[in-house]
């Protein structure tokens, strides 16, 4: 009786096979593909930032454009999210938490970057900054996409930049800009690592096999 049932099932499956989109390759980009794209974008942003930072630091002028310029982090600059998280601590975080932290950080950095956008001097620099901004916006969206594809909830509304007053003077403002770029570099470097790791965890292309049989 059981064998008969199995046979009926197989026959029904075979009969319906040509009529049905039995093998469905999922159209929507899967999580792995999203991660890969996010990773590529991170690398691309790193690459962009490398040239942009050089140009921008030159725009800021000395001492910011000096290669060995390494000022101590001022407490004032705390409004820029710091990437200096302990490595072990960072590793200890779940994927979700890490992604959420990335998401929050870039959202915030983006806000600062947009503020930076309007002030800069040359059109070329503005254009580059604008492009970088757009790309960073894309990264934020990408991370959101990865999180959603992995089924993680999006962190609730990125905390609006605190209404902290602007830098008291031009130098400190430049210092903020310097640290912003510096933090961006660090975050992008770390994100790249994160996504590379995540990429390995999740297979790049998810092919969902769905066998749809009407008889059952």
């Amino acid at each position: 009786g059981d064998s008969w049932g199995i046979l009926t099932f197989l026959c029904a499956a075979l009969c319906n096979l040509p009529a049905l989109p039995a093998l469905n390759c999922t159209e929507e980009p899967g999580a792995g593909q999203n991660i890969q794209k996010t990773y590529d974008l991170t690398r691309y942003l790193e690459h962009q930032l490398r040239t942009l930072a050089g140009t921008y630091l030159n725009y800021l002028g000395p001492p910011f454009n000096e290669p060995d310029f390494n000022p101590p982090r001022l407490a004032h600059a705390e409004r820029v999210p710091s990437a200096t998280v302990d490595l072990d601590l960072w590793r200890g975080l779940t994927d979700n938490a890490r992604l959420a932290a990335n998401y929050r950080a870039y959202s915030r950095l983006l806000c600062y970057l947009r503020a930076l956008d309007g002030q800069t001097g040359t059109a070329e620099l503005r254009h580059r900054l604008g492009h970088f901004c757009s790309s960073l916006q894309g990264l934020v969206l990408s991370i959101a996409g990865v999180m959603s594809s992995l089924g993680y909830p999006l962190p609730v509304g990125p905390s609006a930049p605190p209404g902290a007053p602007g830098a008291p003077n031009d130098f400190l403002k430049k210092m903020d800009d310097f640290w912003l770029l510096k933090e961006l570099q660090t975050w992008l470097w770390r994100s790249a690592k994160d996504f590379n790791r995540l990429k390995k965890k999740v297979p790049p292309a998810v092919v969902t096999l769905r066998l749809e049989t009407r008889g059952f």
Binding site: K37, H131, S134, S135, Q137, G138, L141, S142, A144
Partner: protein
Amino acid sequence: MFSGRNWVARGLYLLLNICSLEVYGGLVQSCGHILPESPVLALGSNFTALCILNESCLDFGNIYASQIIWKIKNRVVPREQYREINRTVSSVTFNDTSSLATPLTCNILADGQIEQNIYGITVTLGLPPEKPKNLSCIVHQVLKLTYPMTCTWNPGRHTFLDTQFRLKYRWPHENFPDCIPKDVNNSCTINEVLFFVNLEVWVEATNALGKAESDPLVLDPIDIVKPLPPHNLSVNSGILPTVLKLSWENRISVAVMKLKFNIRYRIIGDTNWMQVPPEDTASPRTSFSVQGLRPYTEYVFSIRCMKEDGVGYWSNWSEEKTGVTTEDKPSKGPAIWRIIDASHSPASWTVHLMWKALEPFEANGVILQYEVTVRPKSSLSSPPERFNVNTTNLTLKLPNGTYEVAVIARNRVGASPPSVLLIPASNSKAPVKNVRTLPKDGKLWVGWTAPNTYILKYVIEWCLVSNSSDCIIEWQNEPGNVQGTYLKGDIKPFKCYLITVYPLYADGQGSGQSVKAYLQQDRPSKGPTVQTKKVGKAEAVLTWNHLTVDEQNGFIRSYTIFYKTIDGNETAVTVDPSKTEYTLSSLASDTLYTVRMMAYTDEGGRSGPDFTFTTQKFGKGEIEAIVVPVCLAFLLIVLLGVLFCFNKRDLIKKHIWPIVPDPSKSNIAQWSPQVPAKHNFSSKDQMYPEGSFTDVSVVEIEADDKKSFSEQDLKPFDLLKKEKSTSEGHSSGIGGSSCMSSPRQSVSDSDEGETTQNTSSTVQYSTVVLNGYRDQTPVQVFSRSESTQPLLDSEERSEDHAGGGDSTTRRQQYFKQSGGQDEASADRPCFEGTKQITSDDEGDLVRFAQLQVLSQSSQLLGFDLEKDTQEAALSDVSETSTEGQMVRPETGEGNPASVDQMPKSYLPQTVRQGGYMPQ
């Protein structure tokens, strides 16, 4: 100027219109209006318009909705489409808007007849936009960091309305400003795109009748990039002569995309590209070493790139760069061949060695020189001779023998392997067989059948055969395993080539087998010139020369001789091409023939010049056949005649020369002490001994006698006289000697008197032969004398008479005769006498006249021997000789005047008588 005026006019017109409208609408006020105002309608849809009349007008003009007439332009809309809704409203319905046009007017028939316009609307017809289809996008890299994205789509049908297209794109949670195409409706370019985030793109089309959206396209712009090709391509020669290293710069960052490449290359001048295997260049890089190239060759390179994973578009090919590989030693020795000239001296050869310059791919560099080594085979101990040459030939003088010649080509890097050629004493090995040619694809193919033994290689020699130039030998090598090849050279059509194939063995070479060939044949450029060698009665031998090679243009397959008479048909005869002579037979005799000749190749023939000849009337030997028998017959007849005459000679003799008794043989002569000398007679006389021919007297005037006409003739006359006087005694004594006396004497005897006539007339005494004097026909008279004996008497008498005393008187008489005619009458009695005699005679007039003459001469002889006025007499003779002949017939008539002249002609006869003088 004109346009300005036009504008002014338009302005005025507008102003007037506005005024009138105001009057109409404002002051006069319109009596109604149409709903809807200025509609935009879809083609093919249905449409209803309402005309609403104002209440005021109803009262004022007594007009109602039932009076409304709808018009499209000036055409009245059929009443079936109207509907009167109420007193003031009329509607019109169109089932298909395509019948509509602008303006649609509402009119009214005022007072029954006058049509008044109430209101009008413009109707716009069109179509709603179609859904844009086939949306596709591409990101062109323009600069290093500039990536505009261009999307194109199919806008669909024409809508007849102003339709707006917008390219919309967005991120999942973020919208971007629309891209609005400029001037076109099927493409738009977004200036800046961001990579690695999926973008949703779609097109929206909008017009007054609706809106349509294309299917959205979700893409990551990085997947549709067409990058810029790599630039700054450079080519460097590597260490190996077969390797070139390419390096370039990519214009797209690895962070943006990783690239793979295609590299293509070709030998400069060649059009075919070769490609580096794509899998070798499928990873990001900025340099590549291309291997397997030919040494010392210039290559052209070009490169392109695309995203490593193959998603997107290939870039254009980069600019081309060239590079040259380094030199290598020549890969093979030059092909070598020789021409042996043994004609100069028997003991040694002149060997022209020649070799072919290596092809560039074999030379692998610049050939600096060739090394030729000649080693005699027979004496291996003797050192080889070496020659270094820059040219590709070498002429050597070598003693007869077998040699091994080796040629090495040398370039900067090294030397080629040697090419060896044996120069043998004789080409003793097996030759190839069945050499044949075939023109193929504009080239000449040569094929042969190989001998059974192993062949190292073949040498194919060829040259153009021409009269104008020597056979310049070209040649080529072919490997030993082939049995056919194309000639590598400029082979011209219509030219004869002599192709020879030599097989080369490891230890010698076979003799060459030749064949003649044409790449392409043509008709001969001229025909053979024919002429006759011999023309007979019914046949003619034609001869011609072969066409020269340059004229042939192909193989002469046959000749055709065409010959015809002027009005006859042409006859053709085909002749074997090897012949140069042909005999036309069965020709008509004595006929003009025109002959010409055509030479044929495979492609056709050409005729030579016409030649005409006339056949002979008689055949060969025909004339001879006629003439010879005729001659023979003639000869035979003559012979027969002669024989007949000979046989019948007695009869003839009797007839012609009757036997006259010879007085000398008479008894009376036997006692004569002397026989008169006969030395004056001709040899004929002498042939016959005395007695046999005694009855013939031949009178001839010898050359000596003719001298008697000169002044010296006086003497002979004297002598004659003397002799006569001296011989008088003898003759009187010897009666028989009278036969030797002159005929004149005998005639004169007969003439002398009637007394002797009766006695001597019975015997034929002598024959008188008269030679014509000065072309005058002589008259022969044979006068017979019947008497035998009385001759002596008459002779004596004539002698007596001549020696008579009154000779002087006679002479006078003679002179009188010659002097004038008047005196001749005085002599008449003398002539009358003769006349009487002749009248007695019954002979013809001529004879009679002759007799007269003879009598006269005898008279002259008798009387004038002692003439001393000789000259006068001679002149007279010359004068009268012709006259005498003329008057001769007259003498028969007895004309005294002519008779008077006659004696003048006696003188030559007198002279003739001088021939007898020795007697």
